[in-house]
């Protein structure tokens, strides 16, 4: 009986020979997933002669920062310093992530713990909106934004990306799990709902905050739709936009040497990717904790 019992082996404490078969499945998959990313890292540091090399080599032999320097020089040539794009990206992402966390957790607390008319309906609409694909309605979205007079403002890079249905969904499911007793106790002490939210709930929901933070960071940091469609002034555009135009340029006659361009693009990809992966590395335990409550019931 004990021998045929497998269930206990879910989430095992240590390595056992019987797990080898799982590693046999995982290793090739992990290799397939990781190779392109290793490639970007390696390609970004290749000097010109290695980018040109035939047959092409996967790993860099004499790493150089030339591609990053080219990236910065090219921006300066086009009139907008690289630092300006970087500043815009950091500003927009910083403010956006902060607002997204605030707005989403406020709404999640309301939907989870407060009583009001239409609460269930609101949550159902939000669950339906999980299926919302923003690029499907890029045209009416553009028209709405133009009508509101938001074109060419920093706000337009932030506001459309704050209300994320998935974020609210995850956050609300997470707050559902917090005990009502602490809230009741605070109420007896005379705290208002807002005070309870700020002093009692916010500290408990740190994992969900981390998760929404990561989601919104990815959304805003990687966004190219906003700066492409809603911003005309070059000095208000972000890194993601600059890199995107670069990608479109490489391979066309105006883009200069396509091989040199590839090195720059790899460097650009790396700059975009590193903040994302760092955030996830630091916060992954919190994200997993949130995901445990993520189901659609």
């Amino acid at each position: 009986m004990a021998k045929s019992f497998h269930g206990m082996k879910i989430n095992p404490k240590r390595f056992h020979r019987s797990q080898i078969k799982f590693y046999v499945i995982l290793l090739p998959m992990a290799l397939f997933m990781a190779l392109p990313i290793l490639f970007i890292v390696s390609h970004a540091f290749k000097p010109m002669n290695e980018l040109f090399a035939y047959p092409p080599r996967f790993f860099v032999r004499v790493p150089t920062l030339q591609n990053f320097r080219n990236l910065i020089d090219l921006a300066a040539e086009s009139g907008i310093p690289f630092s300006r794009y970087l500043f815009n990206s950091l500003l927009v992402t910083g403010v956006g992530v902060f607002l997204s966390i605030l707005v989403t957790s406020l709404a999640a607390y309301g939907l989870s713990k407060l009583k009001f008319k239409g609460k269930k309906l609101l949550f159902e609409i939000n669950t339906l909106a999980l299926m919302f694909v923003p690029i499907a309605v890029m045209i009416p979205r553009y028209l709405t934004i133009a009508r509101l007079g938001l074109i060419d403002t920093y706000a337009v890079l932030i506001l459309p990306l704050i209300a994320i249905p998935v974020g609210l969904f995850l956050m609300k499911q997470f707050i559902d799990q917090t005990p009502n007793e602490v809230i009741e106790a605070a109420k007896i002490d005379g705290a208002s709902e807002m005070q309870i939210f700020l002093k009692v709930i916010m500290p408990i929901i740190a994992p969900a905050i981390a998760t929404v933070g990561i989601l919104s960071f990815q959304l805003i940091w990687n966004d190219v739709v906003g700066p492409t469609l809603y911003i005309d002034q070059e000095e208000m555009k972000t890194l993601s936009f600059y890199f995107q135009t670069l990608a479109a340029l490489v391979g066309t006659p105006a883009g200069g040497n396509p091989v040199a361009g590839q090195g720059m693009l790899a460097a650009a990809s790396l700059i975009m990717f590193v903040p994302n992966i760092l955030m996830f590395l630091f916060l992954q335990a919190k994200v997993m904790n949130t995901m445990a409550h993520s189901g659609i019931k």
Partner: protein, 296 residues
């Protein structure tokens, strides 16, 4: 200042406002515009169902390329990506915490790469001349005698799009399913084995999947949405909209083509509406499918 804030509207107004302005209004507007002729210069003019009729009867590109491409792409990438997410999550749950974390991060990281990274890696990998990695390898092994034009040839572009999409499909849904499996109450398994469950397969179908159904549904929605969101990669890979001979043209590209290249906003909106309906129906179908399994 926070002493008297008790009304639910202190909490909900900011989200609801943004939600209405940037999600509800655009969707309603897409529906309204889809019944008009609108070239962005003149006011929209009501033309009834003409956009839809034209789309179904006159738009050869849509009926012969865009729609079949989208269906093929969605029905491969969606289910395969979803199945892969579940299987990999399940396998990950069978190994110890430390190595699981490392593998989970590796599997999740492609979904964090932005569009530009996709374009650069995969265009270099599949580049049509001998400096492309795949071509160089195949030439080296003597499997082909001259380089294949992967990204500009209609017969390869779609397959490459599918591979690239699957590569980046282990996203939020995958994490949710992994967490779901790890959080299943261990005593459920013990009880099931007492009741006569004999092997891993029975264990998966009778215990694991039913116990994590909420995460399975969440993962399904994320898979559907993810599939339709990555639609732009055909254009990124081949470097052109429309893609060569429309081989990689998906509905999202068709919308962009008509909306922002030809400025036929009413017509593009009709395509948007069809796309939204498709996403909704596929999600509903998936829900029913998963729901039925539970009863049986």
């Amino acid at each position: 200042m926070t002493r008297k804030m008790n009304s639910p509207w202190w909490f909900l107004t900011p989200y609801v406002l943004l939600f209405i302005v940037f999600i509800i209004v655009p969707v309603l507007m897409a529906i309204a515009l889809s019944f008009t002729y609108f070239n962005t210069i003149e006011n929209p003019e009501y033309i009834g169902l003409r956009n839809y009729i034209e789309l179904m009867t006159r738009d050869d590109v849509f009926m012969q390329h865009v729609l079949p491409n989208t269906i093929r792409f969605a029905f491969i990438v969606g289910p395969v990506g979803y199945l892969m997410s579940f299987i990999l999550a399940w396998v990950l749950a069978q190994i110890p915490h430390k190595s699981r974390t490392v593998f989970a991060i590796i599997l999740y990281s492609p979904s964090m790469t932005a569009g530009i990274a996709m374009a650069v890696v995969w265009t270099v990998m599949f580049s049509g001349d001998q400096t492309g990695y795949i071509n160089a390898t195949l030439l080296n092994w003597g499997l082909i005698s001259e380089p294949i034009q992967f990204l500009t040839s209609p017969q390869h572009l779609m397959n490459i799009m599918i591979v690239v999409s699957l590569w980046s499909s282990m996203g939020v849904g995958f994490l949710a399913m992994l967490a779901g499996i790890l959080n299943i109450d261990q005593t459920l398994y013990e009880a099931a084995y007492m009741d006569g469950v004999k092997n891993r397969w029975q264990e998966i179908f009778y215990i694991t999947i039913p116990s994590m159904k909420p995460q399975m549904l969440f993962g399904a929605v994320m898979a559907v949405v993810g599939t339709f969101t990555v639609g732009a990669i055909g254009v990124q890979l081949s470097g052109a909209n429309p893609t060569p001979q429309y081989a990689g043209q998906l509905m999202v590209n068709h919308i962009e083509d008509f909306g922002f290249i030809r400025y036929l906003m009413g017509y593009a909106s009709a395509v948007s509406v069809i796309l939204l309906i498709m996403i909704y129906m596929i999600s509903k179908m998936t829900f029913n499918l998963l729901g039925d399994k539970d009863k049986g």
